[in-house]
Structure formats: C-alpha cells, structure tokens
C-alpha cells in the first residue's frame, strides 16, 4: 500500500483561509448565507471554515449538519446499510444562499442526495458546493464544486483518507493506493 500526503496541518490552514477569502468575496457579510456541513466527515471542515469566517467578518454565521443517508440512491443495493448521523439545521434555509461543505468530491452521488435532503428544509435562493479535495474525472453525475481546496487526479481503486485533528496540529489527508 502506498500513501501520498495531500495535506498536512500548515498547508490545510493556508488552504482553508484561501477558501474563506473566496467565500467572503461572493457572500460578503454572510447575512443571507448559511453553511451546511455534510455528515459524517464534512462537518469538521465546515466547523473550521465557520470559525475562520467568523474571525474574518466578526459575526456569527449559521452552521447546520445534514445527513444524507435516507436520501441515498444505493439503499438496498449495497451490502450493508449506512448508519445515519444527526441532521441539525436549526435555522430556515428558505431564500438563503447555502454553502454545502464536504471533505471529498468523488462520484457526486452524495451531493445529489444532499440536494434532495436539503429540499425538505425549504427552497434556498442558491446552493454552492465547497470541497477540500476534488477527485477529477470520477463523476457519475454532472456535479461540480464552486470552491475547491485541491484538485487531484485519481483512479477508482484509490482512496482518500482524511484525518482531521481537533487541535489542528496533526491533520493529515492521504491518497492511498492499494498495490495490485
């Protein structure tokens, strides 16, 4: 098994602050915008982005968690069902600009499920997608991200392993290649 390091803590910090600057360019003071982290792993990235944005715009930003398990299109088609996580969106998304946040964009199917799940909370004015890693040429459906941390060329059998550290000191994101 080969491991290639895509992000460590210092690089991740730089990337997150770049993404936040890009977000501010579009969303201004965030009075009409909300962040929704996708369960299970997108929420940690979403929390960091919220924290960074709050220090930049000096105001509270709404953050929600969205679980897509019940909206997936592979239920009863995979070997085991996925255990659902908590959905917590304690604000209205009607007419808001929603920024969906996830760690890795791969086939795009989870994003499709998220768009579907989000409909049950109202009709947002606009939805954007932010991902840390964009795995190029792997999409099963036409979904692209508006904000990307890093684009990576991968093949189907490779995996991206995201290890985010609570103290933000030992973050590692790996590209894992299994040997034939």
């Amino acid at each position: 098994m080969q491991k290639r390091l895509l992000f460590d803590s210092p690089l991740l910090k730089v990337t997150i602050s770049r993404l936040c600057q890009q977000l501010i360019e579009v969303h201004g003071d965030f009075s009409q915008s909300v962040i929704i982290g996708m369960q299970p792993r997108g929420i940690y990235l979403a929390e960091r982005i919220k924290e960074e944005l709050e220090s930049l715009v000096a105001k509270d930003i709404h953050l929600g968690y969205l679980d897509t398990t019940f909206h997936r299109d592979d239920f009863r088609r995979r070997d085991e069902p996925i255990t659902p996580s908590q959905t917590k969106i304690p604000f209205l998304i009607e007419n808001k600009n929603v920024i969906l946040v996830d760690d890795v964009l791969f086939t795009g199917r989870t994003v499709r499920a998220a768009l579907d799940a989000m409909n049950t909370f109202g009709r947002p004015a606009k939805v954007e997608l932010l991902v840390l890693i964009d795995r190029l040429y792997s999409r099963h459906i036409p979904v692209e991200a508006n904000y990307v941390g890093r684009k990576v060329n991968t093949i189907q059998s490779q995996k991206v392993l995201v290890e985010l550290d609570e103290k933000q000191k030992e973050d590692h994101i790996w590209l894992i290649t299994k040997e034939e």
Binding site: F70, R76, E80, P81, D116, A117, T120, F121, G122
Partner: protein, 307 residues
C-alpha cells in the same frame, strides 16, 4: 455500518441488545425527520408494504401506515373483515396471493400467537409482527423502551412496573423481554387472576399491591383491561378493579417520589387510569405515540436494508 441480524421482526425475543440499540439510534434520526417541515424521505421508494390486519387496530395500523408513507413506500392495506378470509381462505393462501402482487414486506396482526412465525417459515418477504394474539407486540415494546430512554436518559438500571392484565397482554410480554435485554428491572402488578402462573420464571418481580409497586418503580406502564380477550370473569367488576388497581392522582400524590406514567393505548379512562393522571405532566402517553412512528420507520428501514 451495521445492520440487524434478523430478516423479520417477529418478537423481541429474537433481538439482542445490539439490534435494539441500532433500532433506537435509527429511530432518533427518524424522529428528527418527522419533525421537519417536510416529513418525508425517499428511502423505501421501491418497496411495497402490505399491512395485513386480521384483528382490529387503530393506533398501530395508522402508525405503521404513516411510517411507511414517510419512507415513501407503496402501501396496501388489508383487513380481515370484508375479505375472502370470511369465505374460508387460509392464512398462507391469503398472504401468498398478496405477495403474488409483488409485495416486499408484510406487517401483520393476527389473533393467533405464532402466526407471523409460521408465515416467516413459508414466504420470502420481510415480516413484521404487529401483534400476535397474547404473544408479542415487538414495535410497541420498542417504542415503550425508546420513550423511557428519552425521558429518563437510559433504560439500564431503571425500575419499571407493568400494571394490569398481564395474562392477556402481548405488550407486557414484549416489554418484559425488551426491558430486561436493556438492563432494566421489571415488576408486574395486577389482580392475582390476571398474572400468569409462572411469570416469575421470566425473572420479574410480582406484586399485587399497586401502592407498593408504584413506590418501588421509576416508570409505570399501565395496561388496558382487555375485556375482549376475557372469556370469563377475572375480577368482580370494573369498579372494583379501578378501586384496587386504578392509578389516580390521589395515589400518585401519596408517593414520596415522582414517577413517569405510560400507557400503550387505547385508554379506558376511569378504569385503569384516571383522566387527571393520563393528562398530567408525568404522563408520556402522547410522546409514546409520536415515538411509535419513528420506531416503526426505523424497523421498516433496517429490515428493508437486510440483504
């Protein structure tokens, strides 16, 4: 990732603690779903569920139907009255005919204990027991324990008394299994004529004095007196039952502590429980009904996912 170890929900007896906890965890997620502005998810959109009720039911049938619809399943309803059962069709024939219409899951209530177990041996669809005679009513027990967990924080170590007609109650038996699996202490309380002879062998405490039982417990689950199942008189009159075993405000006020009151419904107000208790802050009866939909969604979802 996890899934149930069984393809059917025939009784609590066939579940272990891990299964029950998985159902609770999934139900908590579905409870969030049914409190959304739009209460529907598309998980079971390619699944057809038949609700086959050979015995009357209001709450359970509505609750299952709502759970199925909130999961986007296609639903067909069958009740024995007004059907070919009256013309002499057997249970297996009836269900096989329903399955020939490409049904994936069967929710069944039947007056004979073991009817769903019999079906499970003969057909492929997932079977959910919605009550089989005086035997088990697993989804009721699950929602009862789930409600206890929600109200008291956990089920483990809690003292629960089941009051009333234990002899004819499938809710009592399923509750005993579920509560014990989750680590609660269980007591049954009622007139000696309505307590099964060897009930102690299940490891439950037995009490015939309602006051002592309520003093002992944290949660009291008060059952309905099932007059329709009683072929003979087990107690002299409803009035006498209500005098000796009815839970009223005066009795609760005389306790040195506050307890949680549950009832699986339908309530005979003024018989096993008075209105002031049923409608009080200690009562979680309506919460049980709400949780019933979430628990049934979880069971349907998890069983549909068993491959």
């Amino acid at each position: 990732m996890s899934q149930l170890k069984t393809k059917h929900l025939l009784g609590i007896k066939n579940l272990d603690r891990e299964d029950i906890e998985l159902i609770f965890q999934t139900a908590a997620n579905f409870k969030e779903v049914i409190n959304r502005p739009i209460k529907k998810v598309p998980s079971l959109r390619d699944v057809t569920v038949a609700n086959v009720f050979f015995e009357n039911s209001t709450r359970t049938k509505l609750s299952f139907e709502l759970a199925e619809k909130r999961l986007s399943a296609d639903v067909i309803n069958f009740s024995a009255s007004g059907s070919s059962v009256k013309k002499g069709e057997t249970l297996l024939d009836t269900v096989n005919n329903i399955l020939a219409m490409k049904v994936d899951m069967v929710v069944m209530r039947h007056s004979s204990p073991g009817a769903p177990h019999f079906l499970a041996k003969h057909i492929d669809a997932n079977i959910i027991n919605a009550g089989d005679g005086t035997h088990e009513h697993p989804t009721q027990a699950l929602l009862d324990s789930f409600s206890i967990q929600e109200t008291c924080g956990q089920v483990e170590g809690k003292k629960v008394v089941i009051v009333g007609d234990i002899l004819h109650s499938r809710v009592a038996l399923s509750n005993i299994f579920a509560l014990q699996t989750l680590g609660a202490e269980v007591m049954v309380c009622g007139p000696a004529t309505l307590l099964p002879k060897h009930i102690r062998e299940l490891g439950v405490k037995v009490e015939t004095d309602i006051k002592k039982a309520l003093e002992w417990c944290d949660v009291a689950n008060i059952l309905r007196i099932q007059l329709e199942r009683q072929q003979m008189k087990y107690f002299p009159s409803l009035r006498e039952y209500s005098n000796y075993f009815g839970v009223n405000k005066q009795l609760l006020d005389s306790l040195k502590k506050e307890i949680t009151i549950m009832h699986p419904g339908p309530i005979n107000r003024g018989v096993e429980i008075t209105s002031d208790v049923a409608d009080s802050d200690h009562s979680i009866i309506l919460q049980q009904v709400e949780n019933g939909v979430a628990i049934r969604m979880a069971v349907l979802y998890l069983l549909a996912g068993v491959t």
